[in-house]
Amino acid sequence: MRIQLTVNGLGYERDCAEHRTLLRFLREDLGLMGTKEGCGMGECGACTVIMNGRAVNSCMVLAVEADGATIRTIEGEADGPSLSDIQKAFERNHAVQCGFCTAGMVMSVKELLSEHPKPSADQVKEAIEGNFCRCTGYTQIVEAVLDLTGSPEKKGELEHV
């Protein structure tokens, strides 16, 4: 099926097999390898992208379902060599170790901040509850978001996330 979609502000028109997932389409057809496949079945969140303003698991979306959609992926974050504010906050707070979860984490955080510019620690935790991180223990990720947004609860209570 012929599909048309916008990814990080660029329009694409491609022929796409009907059983292809959006994740595979982004990685293999468009060459946008930043989005990762962890489990391939909706558990880990490594494949999170923003579709029409909402964070979704791209491993559970068919590319043909995204016909006409507007997609944001991790490649749309940095502007050349300069990282986005969310990426900088992750870097400052050591919220990245192996980095496998990071593309998905950043996308989940991006959707959260579009709706709640000053989230509470609980709102941050809920926004990333569908994103597994096997390295950081999550604390630094929550701190990175609260550092970025200047939310009041930055210190304290986070020690035992």
Partner: protein, 270 residues
């Protein structure tokens, strides 16, 4: 995915009904895809045709009117949580919606899909049962309305016949304002199916319980009255369920926790 299928996206409800009628044996409806796509990937389901119901106009309609809250088949769990009508009039619906899976899944998974799958651990079924909701079922030949108390037919089975689809869920206006709370036992927020879930609602002195993950289908219990003690309430709830032992928990553990939750809710939901 290696497995290949055809994809169809009808543009009207009538067209959807006709397409579904033509693929009674080899077609599968696609709503949020959070069950269907992993099932196809894992080889559990092998439809020849996948029929997307999100693309017809009106599929994502969520509106409140004289009949109550009408929920189209493409309305997602997060659409419910973002709806002012749902939050203000049916807080119990939101309580259950909030317990369902992770944020990304709530952005895709639909209310209709959650009940059509008829999993015993459905999180939306308890709310729809307690609120007296009805399923509007459509096919190429017409429409019928079935209350959710008669909708589930067994593990992963509903009264939907081949060629039929759930075209709307209606939560009646009379149930608006029901107070309640859903307690779901799970290990990790956002990543677990419930071990058991108990919802209790109270409206004008009328009490209702609904239990998930404790019988072949979600169960409604409407025999508890305000005159009962907390222990009697728990006994009535337990008498209506038949939990089994599986990887998530034993029968005994489930029974114990259903009792704990029923007593706690009976005392706390005022």
């Amino acid at each position: 995915m290696v497995y290949e299928f055809r994809y169809l996206a009808p543009r009207t409800a009538a067209e959807l009904a006709a397409v579904l009628d033509g693929h009674k044996d080899d077609g599968k409806l696609l709503a949020g895809g959070t069950d269907l796509i992993p099932s196809i990937r894992n080889g559990i389901m092998k439809p020849k045709v996948v029929i997307d119901l999100k693309k017809y106009s009106g599929a994502d309609r969520l509106s409140y009117g004289a009949d109550g809250l009408s929920i189209g088949p493409a309305v997602t769990i997060n659409d419910i949580l973002r709806s002012k009508d749902a939050r203000e009039r049916y807080p119990v619906l939101c309580d259950c919606a909030h317990e369902l899976a992770s944020h990304q899944i709530r952005n895709r998974a639909t209310v209709a899909g959650n009940v059509v799958n008829a999993s015993p651990c459905s999180d939306m079924a308890p709310a729809l049962l307690c609120l007296g909701a009805k399923a509007v079922i459509r096919s190429a030949t017409g429409e019928r309305v079935v209350p959710f108390s008669q909708f589930f037919a067994g593990v992963k089975k509903t009264v939907l016949a081949p060629g039929e689809f759930l075209s709307a869920i209606v939560v009646p206006a009379e149930s608006a304002g029901a107070r309640g709370r859903y307690l779901k036992l799970k290990r990790i927020a956002g990543h677990d199916l419930g071990i058991v879930g108990v919802l209790m609602t109270r409206r004008d002195g009328e009490l209702r319980f609904a239990v998930s993950s404790a019988a072949p289908t979600p169960v409604l219990v409407d025999s508890v009255t305000v005159k009962d003690s907390a222990d009697e309430a728990a006994r009535k709830v337990l008498a209506s369920v038949s939990p089994i032992s599986d990887v998530r928990g034993t029968k005994e553990y489930r029974e114990h926790m259903i009792g704990v939750y029923a007593r706690r809710l009976f005392t706390e939901v005022k």
